[in-house]
């Protein structure tokens, strides 16, 4: 098992490097938001989602559309997306844009507008109950999406419908376009208690520790839908990007790129 986590660490390192490489070919990219999601996405694809006949049987929805680079690089490694697809990211002949589009390989829904993923996730999970197909659904939301009323509407419905097959991860990096959430919206907190009061089982973990994420999933105690609050750092891995709102949508210049790569490969 230990070996599996070492492999995961390597993958996450290379994912960040790949994103930085791509950032040198396009003007702007949501790199920092992707960096906070890397370990969560790795945990979902490599440890939690069941496969059947070499294909994913369970479903993963990237509700946090602007974090899609984390998903794209994972899908590339899984050979679901081609190298060419990522090389052509945000170019006129490419299929991949700044937000995931339904219909592209490995992409289960179009996201990018915040607050849509939870509704889709509830609809899919409930359908899986109706169809009795034993599939599980994993959805990754940004913490900003918990400022959208639609997310809470659907959380209430997920619990009403007893969707025990639904697991949600919050990329809780606490940082949004306008600043640090605990200062801009202090009453966003307490978060875990709010979620529990909506009928969910909820745990809080270090979102950059894959084994903690998996452990939180495996130690689920109830038949309620499960929410794992993954505490993360926006821009994780690159010192000058970490928790700096300016890096929400920006590509590093050549100098910055060199430093960033050095820092990432060192860790």
């Amino acid at each position: 098992m230990q070996n599996k986590f070492l492999l995961s660490k390597d993958r996450c390192k290379l994912s960040r490097k790949r994103i930085l490489d791509i950032s040198q070919q396009v003007k702007a990219i949501h790199a920092a938001g992707a960096f906070s999601s890397i370990e969560i996405v790795d945990a979902i694809y490599y440890f939690l989602m069941k496969k059947k006949k070499n294909k994913f049987f369970d479903t993963f929805l990237m509700s946090k559309g602007h974090g899609c680079m984390a998903q794209y690089v994972a899908l590339e490694k899984l050979k679901i997306l081609k190298k060419k697809d990522l090389d052509q990211y945000c170019t006129k002949n490419g299929i991949l844009g700044c937000h995931p589009d339904y219909g592209n390989p490995g992409i289960e829904a179009s996201t990018g507008s915040l607050g849509h993923g939870m509704g889709l996730a509830v609809g899919i999970s409930h359908s899986d109950v109706i169809l009795n197909n034993k599939k599980k659904l994993f959805v990754l939301l940004s913490d900003g999406e918990f400022q959208e009323g639609s997310t809470w509407e659907n959380m209430m419905m997920a619990a009403n419908l007893n969707l025990k097959n639904l697991t949600c991860f919050i990329d809780h990096n606490g940082s949004q376009s306008f600043g640090i959430t605990k200062y801009t919206h202090p009453n966003f907190y307490p978060l875990v208690e709010k979620i529990k009061s909506f009928g969910w089982e909820c745990k809080s973990v270090n979102g950059h520790n894959v084994s903690s994420i998996i452990n939180a999933y495996k130690t689920k105690k109830t038949n309620k839908p499960l929410m794992i609050v993954c505490n993360t750092i926006k821009g994780k891995g690159v010192s000058f990007m970490e928790n700096k709102p300016i890096w929400h949508y920006r590509s590093p210049n050549k100098e910055e790129y060199k430093i960033a790569i050095k820092e990432i490969l060192k860790k």
Partner: protein, 304 residues
């Protein structure tokens, strides 16, 4: 129409296990209760949460189910509009969004409950289809189509209760995307949709007394619109009348006038639509329609 909706959905669902109903806190009348008790998992009430209604339906369609979202039109289209645009239209999912009590039907409830610009809004979103049946018989055909199609999202615009039936033995057959002749006539052509067809029949009677023979058509599919048949009407008639329980912006009048320009139509078009105004009138539907100038005597004077 709402009873007919419940009745047809129930009947279709016994044959098609993919049909699901997602409502937002609307009291399930008649057969809807039957659907709910027979298929409890396929019936979801999201409560007063319309964004949730659309999002959940989109998720169900992603899994291959055939959901129908149902509530009062203002809340089924306007409130969750961005969910309709992104979840349903952008992903092109076969979900039917039923808007009940459309146009001026809820006159006494005031402006918060009126849908006078719904077609205009729905028409402008790519992939969206719009059907607005004129009576319960036409609704049945439209609903059967909605249950069987898997092309994309549909906004199904219906009335409320007690609508008369206009479709008769001599009416053309209903077909998605086709203008449907309800009664024939050779001098004047009326194009309309929805239960306001009642005004068309009254106008027809009045014009008949003057020796005019008037055809009435149900333009039940507002999108995609049947421009081929419309062109034939332009070629055949010198006078065309549009009647709609909808704003003068972006509805049937706009469609017909744009097409008239494209076809260099030389005849005259008389359009009767709702004004681009919020009118505070809490009388019955006809009182409100009168304030909008939608009045048969007025039509008659203008057309003559």
């Amino acid at each position: 129409m709402r009873n007919k909706f419940a009745e047809v959905i129930y009947r279709e669902s016994t044959k098609n296990s993919k049909i699901c109903v997602v409502v937002a806190d609307i009291s399930p009348a008649g057969s809807m209760n039957l659907f709910r008790s027979k298929y409890p998992k396929r019936f979801i009430n999201t409560g007063v949460a319309e964004q949730s209604m659309i999002g959940i339906a989109a998720g169900m369609a992603l899994r291959g189910l055939k959901p129908f979202c149902y509530t009062i039109a203002t809340f089924s289209l306007y409130r969750p509009f961005e969910m309709i645009r992104v979840d349903l239209c952008y992903q092109n999912l076969p979900v039917t969004v039923v808007g009940m009590g459309t146009g001026t039907v809820y006159s006494t409830l005031g402006g918060t409950h009126l849908t006078q610009e719904d077609i205009s809004i729905a028409r402008s979103v790519p992939n969206m289809n719009i059907i607005a049946p004129c009576d319960p018989v036409e609704l049945e055909d439209a609903l059967k189509y909605c249950c069987r199609q898997s092309k994309g999202p549909i906004y199904l615009r219906i009335g409320k209760a007690g609508e008369p039936t206009f479709v008769n033995k001599r009416s053309e057959k209903w077909k998605f995307g086709k203008i449907r002749k309800i009664v024939s006539g050779k001098d004047i052509c009326i194009l309309t949709f929805g239960p306001i067809m009642e005004k068309a029949f009254k106008l027809r009677e009045k014009l008949k007394k003057d020796g005019n023979s008037v055809e009435i058509n149900s333009c039940h599919t507002l999108k995609p619109f049947d421009y081929v048949t419309l062109k034939k009407k332009f070629n055949k008639y010198k006078k065309i009348i549009t009647i709609e329980d909808h704003s003068e912006i972006g509805g049937l009048a706009s469609i017909v006038k744009e097409a008239a320009y494209n076809n260099t139509y030389k005849g005259k078009i008389f359009s009767f639509s709702l004004k681009d105004k919020f009118i505070h009138c809490y009388g019955d539907q006809n009182d409100l329609l009168n304030k909008h100038g939608v009045n048969v005597n007025k039509f008659y004077r203008k057309v003559l």
